[in-house]
């Protein structure tokens, strides 16, 4: 039998297909707009493969079910939006302390508070900077298409297991809600059976998982170990896409839907004689520091512009990366408004005009 791998799916649905094809056994989640299609698709599809779907009583319940399923050595995931991610942060901090893998989808919406259900990218701080208590990091994939919602979910499982860390797939409501044609990958055939899982005995002693280190020196050593791992990840796993940056005088930095608007704006600006380019982080942690520093050292860029649907959150990481060697401007919308190509171009032109003074 031949199967059609090419489907028309919402971003949210594509992530569920990606998870199942990556070998995810369990989904635990609580419905929230604009992420609800994830729970709905999971409720429909997981049982077809005799896999587990549980509608958790709360976001807190869901992340702790993930802890339970991951601790016994099964691929599992949860999904939510900003408000729900706020509630999950306790569990995410524990996951970091335990050093066990987990995949979380965050389909971001407007905040603070109840905000609205429009697309914002204002979860950057709470997801990229850890979010819960303690010094820890999470992988954060930032898909900009429905295809990537699927592919990056697959990648999130792999990298999360490799480093025993939480991997987020963080997409704005536009990417979650839009439909595109998707080419689905082949199902995973590997056997996932981690040696650290609960239920396994090593030399007659049962495995245990804890984040508790009562001796100060022990906890410090644990933290140092985690930090060494994070530095290794930063050195090895940065990933971004550049578009027409080679001779660009203005480089737009954008992820998610903003990166697609930014790409259109680059073409429009080039047509008007402005040398613009785009740097699109595929992950925002680890942040593509090396690529940004290369843009600085190449010497063509006169400025960077962070294009975001927040009050300016990623811009802080851009500034840290370029170490004051280039001016960094912000072009943003909030409240669920998506920046239009025209306004991005206008902002870019204004920056170039000011710089030429």
């Amino acid at each position: 039998m031949k199967y059609n791998h090419r489907l028309l799916l919402k971003g949210n649905e594509a992530a569920v297909y990606g998870a199942l094809l990556a070998g995810c056994d369990c989904y635990f989640g609580y419905p929230i707009t604009p992420a609800s299609e994830i729970a709905q698709a999971a409720a429909l599809l997981f049982p077809k493969l005799n896999r587990t779907f549980v509608q958790a009583e709360s976001e807190i319940g869901a992340i702790n079910m993930v802890i339970g399923a991951s601790s016994v050595g099964h691929r599992c995931m949860t999904a939510s939006s900003g408000l729900g991610i706020s509630l999950k942060q306790e569990g995410v901090s524990y996951l970091a302390g335990y050093e066990i893998p987990a995949v979380i989808l965050d389909i971001t919406r407007g905040g603070p508070g109840l905000g609205n259900i429009g697309p914002e990218q204002a979860d950057y701080f709470q997801v990229v900077k850890g979010g819960g208590h303690g010094s820890y990091c999470n992988f954060v994939f930032t898909p900009n298409s429905v295809q990537e919602m699927c592919d990056m979910t697959v990648e999130a499982f792999r990298i999360s297991e490799k480093y025993r860390m939480t991997a987020y797939v963080m997409a704005d409501g536009v990417i979650g809600q839009m439909m595109e044609s998707v080419e689905l990958p082949e199902p995973a055939t590997d056997v996932y059976d981690p040696e650290w899982k609960l239920g396994r005995y090593v030399d007659g002693k049962a495995n245990i998982i804890t984040s508790l280190y009562m001796e100060h020196d022990d906890l410090e050593a644990h933290n140092e170990k985690l930090q060494r791992k994070y530095r290794e990840v930063e050195a090895k796993e940065q990933s971004c896409e550049t578009y027409r940056t080679d001779d660009a005088e203005l480089v737009i930095v954008a992820y998610g839907i903003c990166s697609r608007i930014g790409r259109g704006a680059v073409d429009q600006l080039r047509a008007e004689g402005i040398k613009a380019g785009l740097l699109r982080p595929r992950l925002v942690w680890p942040f593509p520091v090396d690529a940004l520093r290369k843009i600085v050292s190449d010497g063509n860029a006169k400025a960077l512009m962070s294009l975001e649907m927040s009050a300016g959150q990623m811009i802080e990481d851009i500034k840290l990366a370029v170490e004051c060697k280039l001016p960094v401007f912000l072009c943003n919308r909030m409240g669920g408004n998506v920046p239009g190509g025209d306004e991005v171009c206008a902002a870019a032109k204004k920056i170039m005009k000011e710089l030429s003074k």
């Binding site: 039998m1 031949k2 199967y3 791998h5 090419r6 028309l8 199942l20 094809l21 369990c26 604009p34 599809l45 493969l49 005799n50 896999r51 549980v54 009583e57 709360s58 807190i60 319940g61 702790n64 993930v66 802890i67 339970g68 399923a69 601790s71 016994v72 099964h74 599992c76 524990y94 259900i117 429009g118 409501g173 536009v174 809600q177 839009m178 439909m179 595109e180 044609s181 199902p187 055939t189 609960l198 239920g199 005995y201 002693k205 049962a206 245990i208 998982i209 804890t210 984040s211 508790l212 009562m214 001796e215 022990d218 839907i257 697609r260 790409r263 259109g264 239009g340 190509g341 025209d342």
Partner: protein, 488 residues
């Protein structure tokens, strides 16, 4: 690993407690007179006798028993405060061969984690919960608990628990007894040899239910905490027997163990790649007529469509049909709805982009090639997005002929009337797509492109209504009628 221990240490315990840091490896960390050690022993013995040690996972809560994993040689995870029943749910659902014990104190279970607890009970998770009620928060130094008695002095109720402001003690077993799912609920005490023997039986029953996967079992254990209650061992036992049991009467509250059949393991997870694909992916149709449109001149640039109207008119599904036609013709497509409360009854719109190359932004806020307006309000809102050489198609029954710029083209269609003529008002979409076939043929489509468009429609609608041949037929008729009407 089954063994019956009458004297000495259960083999379910480590001997010595090598995971306990510091020099003391022979004893537990609990205070003199504390009940945790007794309950640990009862659990270890019951697990040993039931022979499930190697598959049992015991969850360490936050509280005095946070170090459960120092003592039991069983899989163990120390979890966030109060969340043990949720973690237990995940561990037990992910691997139903596991036997999962949630061991919790009264702050953990009855205060900060009450929701996780009651929800797991209500779902009838196949876990056993041991709930240690010692009427105070032991680990943090004897603060008020949900189970603290009225008038009882603790470090955060220095004037005594005041029911007017602090409420009355939480009767966990009685609350859980209101739920349908739990199999076994019993309250015991660790105050005398007789009571400890009763507790031993209750613990054994909860472990047996676990082994047989019968469902949710709860054993509440009234447990002495002489240090924080500032009492001698005798005094604290007297306090439990005489004072605590007034609020927390001992005994079996529900036992459906005998009447509940042993649970079965669920069917194995499907992992075989071919089986996975057969469940997730549609089969490739043998007689697909859609052409590869990616080489067509017209799709060498993005073709941008906006559809607007009223929720319920099929605005979103018209867009979906076009997007599916593009997908089946091997083009890249995007479909972007306006989403939110407005989609339930108010204005609705969606954007569709079709291209052989990559699609930039899925939004259509300018340079629109084709605008389909099904209401006047929709047209008013979106007419500015229509590009200089764009085509406007409107529902003639909904509005007067709109005026467009000289370079733009406008076509009216009575889509609803056509749909009604085939007997299904929901076929207006197909009538519009039929009309589009002809309109686009007159505005840029080659003959081959027109044929490919029609074939793609046929494939898309067949895929959509494969299970409803009557509806499929109506749609095909509406398409033909729409095409004919556009000719007129």
């Amino acid at each position: 690993m089954s063994d019956k221990v009458k004297f000495g240490r259960s083999k379910v315990f480590f001997d010595p407690f090598e995971r306990r840091p510091g020099p003391i490896k022979k004893n537990m960390h609990y205070c003199p007179g504390c009940g945790h050690g007794i309950l640990h022993k009862l659990i270890a013995e019951a697990v040993g006798e039931s022979g499930i040690q190697d598959k049992t996972i015991i969850i360490s809560p936050v509280g005095c028993s946070v170090f459960v994993y120092y003592y039991f040689n069983m899989g163990s995870i120390s979890v966030p405060h109060g969340r043990a029943p949720a973690v237990a749910t995940g561990a037990s659902r992910a691997n139903p061969e596991n036997f999962v014990i949630s061991y919790q104190g009264d702050g953990d279970l009855a205060a900060i984690g009450f929701n996780e607890f009651i929800q797991a009970a209500n779902r009838g998770e196949k876990i056993s919960v041991f709930f240690v009620n010692n009427s105070n928060y032991g680990m943090t130094g004897g603060q008020m608990a949900p189970t603290t008695l009225p008038g009882q002095i603790t470090t955060t109720s220095p004037y005594g628990r005041n029911p007017e402001t602090d409420g009355f003690p939480t009767k966990v077993c009685e609350i859980i007894n209101q739920l349908e799912a739990p199999v076994y609920i019993e309250r015991v005490a660790l105050t005398s040899t007789a009571n400890i023997l009763k507790a031993k039986k209750a613990v054994a029953k909860a472990i047996e239910n676990l082994r047989e996967r019968k469902g949710f079992s709860l054993v509440e254990v009234l447990s002495p905490c002489p240090i924080n209650l500032k009492m001698s061992a005798d005094q604290v036992n007297k306090f439990i027997d005489e004072k605590m049991t007034q609020f927390f009467p001992l005994g079996c509250i529900r036992d459906r163990s005998a009447a509940t059949p042993a649970g079965n393991l669920p069917p194995a997870i499907i992992r075989d790649p071919e089986a996975v694909k057969s469940m997730l992916l549609p089969g490739v149709s043998e007689n697909s007529g859609a052409a590869d449109a990616s080489k067509f001149e017209i799709f060498q640039k993005e073709r941008r469509v906006k559809i607007c109207g009223f929720g319920g008119q099929g605005v979103l599904s018209l867009g979906l049909n076009l997007a599916n036609m593009g997908r089946l013709s091997k083009l890249n497509v995007s479909w972007m709805p306006s989403y939110g409360p407005e989609q339930r009854g108010g204005a609705a719109s969606c954007a569709v982009i079709v291209s052989s190359g990559a699609i930039s932004s899925p939004m259509v806020d300018r340079d629109c090639d084709l605008l389909v307006a099904m209401t006047q309000t929709g047209l008013n809102k979106f007419r500015h997005v229509l590009g200089k050489n764009g085509i406007l198609v409107y529902d003639r029954s909904a509005m007067k002929p709109p005026v467009v710029e000289a370079t733009q083209k406008v076509f009216g269609l009575d889509a609803l009337a056509i749909a009604n003529s085939v007997g299904n008002p929901k076929c207006a979409n197909s009538a519009i797509i039929g009309a589009l076939s002809k309109i686009l043929r007159e505005n840029g489509f080659s003959e081959a492109e027109e044929q490919a468009f029609d074939a793609a429609y046929q494939d898309a609608i067949t895929e959509n209504f494969a299970a409803k041949p009557a509806v499929l037929k109506q749609n095909l008729e509406a398409f033909a009628a729409g095409k004919k009407a556009a000719l007129a």
